[in-house]
Amino acid sequence: MTGQVQSFVGSGKTSRRVQFALLCLFIPLFLIPFYVVLSASFKSSAGADVTTMWKLPTEWTSSGISAAWKALKGNFANSLLMTIPAVVISSLIGSLNGFILSKYKFKFSNLLFTLMLVGMFIPYQTILIPMVRFLQYIHLYGTIPGLALVHIVYGIPITSLMFRNFYVSIPKAIVEAASIDGAGLIKTFVRIILPLSLPGFVVAGLFQFTNIWNDFLFGIVAIPNPTMQPVTAALNNLSGTQTVDWNVLMAGSLIAALPTALIYLTLGRYYIQGLTAGSVK
């Protein structure tokens, strides 16, 4: 079998070497922004100048990182307080919906689901004014719980889709056996389906964490007070400030990117599963 693999077209030795060489040409292209950020983050304010952007630090220091952390730590905490509850709640809701949509289909359930999926694609600019009015009405405007609520609701379509695609692989016989034993929908879901859902939660949770952490528009519109805004908003404000040293700005970018980048580097394969599971095929 291994001998046959080599006889596949397009994977002959020469062809593969050429493709490998071409892929290697792409490495610097993809690493350039990461190089700029990392090298600048460890420069001192005196040594950080945009005209010496490509040079490594002459003396490595963490002063830029500590200055950026001082400026961003409050907003970093806001991002965590917004992201973690929103990820957990929208994934739980999505798992229940996905279970119903894959195993308890009823008349019009597919139509209702398609109507919900529209929410995945709409430009959020189209709902900003009523969203703010709604948050004011329930007294959550300008608060992190209010922002988390918005992320939960707009997260329901994508998490429902991911879990629906995930539960397709669970045999229907398990659900039928439970219903013969007299278990209702919720009991079956909690006792039998949830314990089987850990991989689904990892995939949907990682995907939602990245989406919500990286959000900017909802953060600046639902919360006008800069100290309460998420870290992406604070980084953009920092970038617009003329007096900020360049090494501090790059260190701030590093800090804002770190949680999602770390998740990606350690759990990348689940993240890639989420990409294909979350697409309407």
Binding site: F26, I100, S109, L115, T126, L235, M250, T276, K281
Partner: protein
């Protein structure tokens, strides 16, 4: 008598528990999507709606806000930018994604490394990458320094006699002019104020967006390539088909459904693009890198012209719907088998 009527009503009330469990989610999403959109459309048709002043009076004519919007220089530039951006970005991201997917799928040991490297930017926020690319494409640093170090600048000066100093996002130039052509083709085309061409300042932004999202296209194509039956590839090898022939006649045609999915998602992302441009270039000189998403945000929250911002957001919704709705309708038909 009372027990009998209770029995009847209980039977009548017996509803599907699945529908009951789905109802809260559906109602919430329905309000946040459809009711909110209807509210925004209503505001876009008002003359002077403000948050404190709920005045829904119509202007004369009733579509007055939309008339103002489409005759506005900035919004015309935005529509031009969104078309140029979407077309060039899609070509770049999908072609690069396809190439990377084919090459990565043929790697053995290095497959996981390359796949993770090319998808890495997708996990990082647009604000972060926008801030970084802003400096890489700054005329006094980044790419222009590389042009200088590598000797390309001095070579260019020797050959062409003028110094090579690309202005990137601060370039005011618009390449090409289609105004006279468009004024004959589209209704009201004679009121075009913005120059209809390719703004040079948009090119670095398109590059940055493709850099960030071609990994997504690659991941979709990789999933598609993995689902091609091995027998097909073996059969092609037995027939001594060339690698090119195999990809051209077998692999690429079978990737078309994946290509459609990736294109729909990337097009909708591109039509809505906001964060990356807001952080990387802002609106640009003469609105050369402005986008409808930025226009909506600034009309509402900077200029406080809510009806105008709402109208621009409805135009965005129409553009996105034109791409996404046919795709969702097909999806709905597919699930009803």
């Amino acid at each position: 008598m009372s027990t009998k009527s209770a029995g009847i009503s209980r039977r009548k009330l017996r509803v599907n528990p699945a529908a009951v469990a789905l109802a809260p989610s559906f109602i919430l999403v329905f309000i946040f999507v459809y009711v909110f959109i209807a509210y925004t459309i209503r505001i876009s048709l008002s003359k002077s709606w403000m948050p404190g002043l709920q005045n829904f009076d119509l202007p004369t004519p009733w579509y007055g806000t939309y008339h103002d919007l489409f005759t506005n220089f900035r919004f015309q530039a935005d529509l031009r930018n969104t078309v140029v951006f979407t077309v060039l970005f899609l070509i770049l991201a999908v072609v690069a994604g396809l190439f990377l997917a084919i090459a990565v799928s043929n790697m053995a040991k290095s497959k996981v490394f390359f796949r993770n490297l090319f998808l890495m930017p997708y996990a990082v926020s647009f604000i972060v990458t926008g801030v970084i690319w802003r400096w890489i494409f700054n005329p006094v640093s980044g790419v222009n320094l590389l042009l200088k170090y590598s000797g390309i600048s001095s070579l260019y000066e020797k050959v062409f006699g003028s110094p090579l100093k690309p202005q990137w996002m601060t370039s005011p130039e618009v390449f090409g002019n289609m105004n006279s052509l468009l004024s004959n083709v589209i209704p009201g085309g004679d009121s075009l104020q913005a120059q209809m061409g390719v703004p040079i300042a948009l090119l670095p932004v398109i590059f940055a967006a493709a850099w960030q999202l071609c990994g997504f296209a690659m991941a979709m194509f990789l999933a598609g390539l993995a689902s091609i039956p091995h027998e097909l590839r073996e059969a092609a090898a037995i027939d001594r088909a060339s690698g090119f022939r195999y990809y051209w006649s077998i692999a690429i045609p079978s990737l078309i459904p994946m290509a459609v999915t990736a294109t729909v998602i990337l097009t909708s992302t591109s039509l809505k693009i906001f964060d990356l441009i807001y952080a990387m270039s802002g609106s640009g000189i003469g609105f050369s890198t402005d986008m409808p998403g930025i226009y909506v945000y600034e009309s509402m929250y900077k200029a406080l012209r809510y009806p105008l911002g709402a109208a621009a957001s409805v135009v965005m919704l129409v553009l996105v719907s034109a791409v996404v709705l046919p795709y969702l309708v097909r999806f709905n038909k597919g699930t009803e088998e």
